[in-house]
Symmetry: none
Subunit: 418 residues, 2 copies
């Protein structure tokens, strides 16, 4: 079964508000096996709303509408719904009472404009809003695949979420032909989309119309989303086979599933092993420490870090030798190793990480162009450093470099297990 | 002039990603006087994409498309655009060269799948992507109000933003009938929306239908956007009067204009005065240093920093006295002061900054609940600390706390001038 998510309101169109409601509904529908087929945002204008309502009813059996149910003159959703359904608006006395009581409980008189919020298109069910004044309006329509359901909800996120969970989704589950869906996402780091495509050569033979695989790339990370639109035992098994295939070919790049993050995965690995980490950052300037300390409870496994932008800090706080800086430069394997070892020993952590590089836009030379990046890792079992060639964009380089050194830590932790 | 914002990709529909791209484009268009008339999200499916392209070209003169330009089999935007425009795809040798060079610079061979990214519909202009492999595709179409412009951009936010600012908006400004608009934004920090409203009492008398003032709040910062929809000399003058009024009433909270950032403004102040800064971060975990080092050229005025998550690091690396930690705790005025002074002296900076607090979700007590935050600043002229009460959300607290301590540095620099 497919759904349309229709958001009504100028504030979304002009970018004053990000449409998190649509994302929330899309996720909830997907979890329940309903496929969001389209998201549409239209202004508070009759023609645009009516056209979007008609398209949603034509194309999908579920039409979720938010916004435009307030008491002001630019809230016209209920009027337009009434016109499109050719259903006159009538005042619902029980809804009106509930709205009036909300005001009375605060010692206020209900403003006249709120009368409009008790108006319900004929044939629609109105369900009171426990947290606000706009009720949920539920109606049905004819669709080529069976009866369709339209739900008009307020745009306030928690009011919408309440109505979705308490009223809309239970009705959706009871609709004839409500299908099932099965979904799982694997998260990789340290391999690009094209190379992973090559690693997974032959994977298309495991796919079918009911079993899809999508690649969702970000800087140095990828999400591999497997979706089965049927969920019989056979389909479970075919998704299991797909996952096994991917893990066999690309297991060493997979750090988690679903909503996991690389830093949270690392945190769990450190905590399980009773290990701690300290960071020595030159070019990433504190960003690696920031990412690790974003994780709640990270004080159990982050000791701290040194941001050694100036060479004097590298020498005095990390113990990098003046000779090393003079002979090899601050951006070198030798400096990266001494930084990682230095921060581990001085801060008393199990593992030390380091970054040093030229992230741009300035500072490059022929020998060490912008994008040159060294990262080091040090533990009792030894210290090593690796070089990467990043790009020209400073902030992207910080993102990519920090992900790379976190991945180096992840791989070090896996290596320590061997 | 009206625009359609079309986003292509299952990951948005299923709520895995919030559509921040659409909000960003909606805001940017609005700033430039173009009206976003509709936002649509469709899946990676030919029929849905084609239908949305046709509707956008029918209803609006500007059609901004993101997503579906990657190298994998589910990226079909370019094929569907070619079909809708009846324009055969041809390989663009200069784009192919640029994509191939991106791989070669990293010592990799270009995977075969990336060939598709150099395919350009006939009659379209392809502009290389400085940060990725998918080029911008620009085409024109007939619309009842004049020539229409379609721009197909990658879905990666900074790649899209680059193309919007560098290529798309300059072309939009030159389109026949593009609106004349004059806009200026003042940036404030450290004052809330309602307090600022009080400060600016009487400002409405300077406004008119052609001259608007919008308050766009973010965590501890505000953008004051002045928009004149006419741009004769008289309108320039009335906007100048408005700006002068705001600066007179709220000047001490204004740190910049337009796209400026607080950290860049601070960097300029430090550089002009020949001063340097060092950070001692407990709860912000490196985020303050990260923000400062995001600024190109910051190595001229950032010496470095210490992330002192563990008390041992506060004592050994920053010289916080064991007595202080025992008697007042790590989250205290005394510790904040010793951290700020310690990092200034040990790293040899002109100014030391410090943060220590309980950012949550755990770790609070009755005396020091989650949200308790101390920040310190130290210079030759003295050391002081201030307390803030933040909220319960860890990441928002990091954002707000780091902005607060950067503002403390800004005010210290202004004070040193006196």
């Amino acid at each position: 079964m497919k759904a349309t998510i229709l958001t009504i309101g100028d504030e979304i169109l002009i970018g004053q508000i990000v449409n998190t409601n649509a994302a929330w509904m899309g996720e909830r529908l997907t979890e329940e096996g309903v496929r969001p087929a389209r998201m549409v945002v239209v202004p508070d204008e009759e023609y645009a709303i009516a056209e979007a309502l008609r398209a949603g009813m034509r194309d999908t059996r579920l039409l979720l509408v938010t916004g435009g149910l307030g008491p002001t003159h630019d809230d016209i959703t209920r009027e337009v719904v009434a016109k499109v359904f050719d259903a006159p608006l009538r005042s619902d006395p029980s809804i009106l009472d509930i709205v009036r009581q909300r005001f009375e409980r605060r010692g206020w008189e209900m403003p006249a404009s709120n009368h409009s919020q008790a108006m319900v298109p004929e044939g629609f069910e109105a369900i009171p809003n426990p947290a606000g004044t706009a009720p949920l309006l539920l109606g049905s329509y004819d669709h080529s695949d069976g009866a369709g359901l339209i739900a008009c909800m307020p745009g306030v996120p928690y009011e919408m979420q309440h109505f979705m969970d308490a009223e809309v989704m239970p009705r959706v589950r009871e609709m004839e032909g409500a299908p099932d869906i099965l979904q799982k996402t694997l998260l990789t780091v340290g391999i690009g989309e094209s190379h992973l495509t090559d690693q997974l050569e032959g994977v298309t033979e495991l796919l079918s119309e009911g079993l899809e695989l999508a690649f969702l790339p970000n800087l140095r990370t990828l999400r591999l989303r497997m979706t089965s639109t049927r969920s019989g035992d056979a389909d479970h098994q075919s998704m299991d086979r797909l996952e096994a295939f991917i893990r066999e070919r690309a297991g060493k790049w997979i750090y988690g599933e679903g909503d996991d993050t690389l830093e949270a995965a690392i945190g769990r690995m450190l905590e399980e092993r009773g290990l701690t980490v300290a960071t020595a950052e030159s070019c990433t300037g504190g960003y690696v420490a920031h990412r690790l300390t974003n994780i709640a409870g990270s004080s159990a496994w982050v000791v701290g870090g040194i941001v050694s932008y100036a060479n004097s800090v590298k020498e005095e706080q990390l113990g990098v030798r003046a000779d090393t800086l003079r002979n090899f430069g601050a951006v070198s394997r030798e400096t990266a190793c001494e930084m990682a070892e230095g921060v581990r020993l001085r801060l008393g952590a199990s593992i030390g990480l380091s970054t040093t590089g030229i992230l741009g836009p300035g500072g490059g030379s022929e020998e060490k162009p912008v994008g040159t990046f060294w990262m080091g890792v040090s533990s009792e079992s030894g210290t090593r450093a690796l070089r990467l060639r990043l790009g020209n964009d400073r902030l992207r380089n910080k993102e990519r470099g920090s992900t790379a050194v976190l991945d180096l830590l992840r791989r070090e932790l896996l290596r320590l297990d061997d």
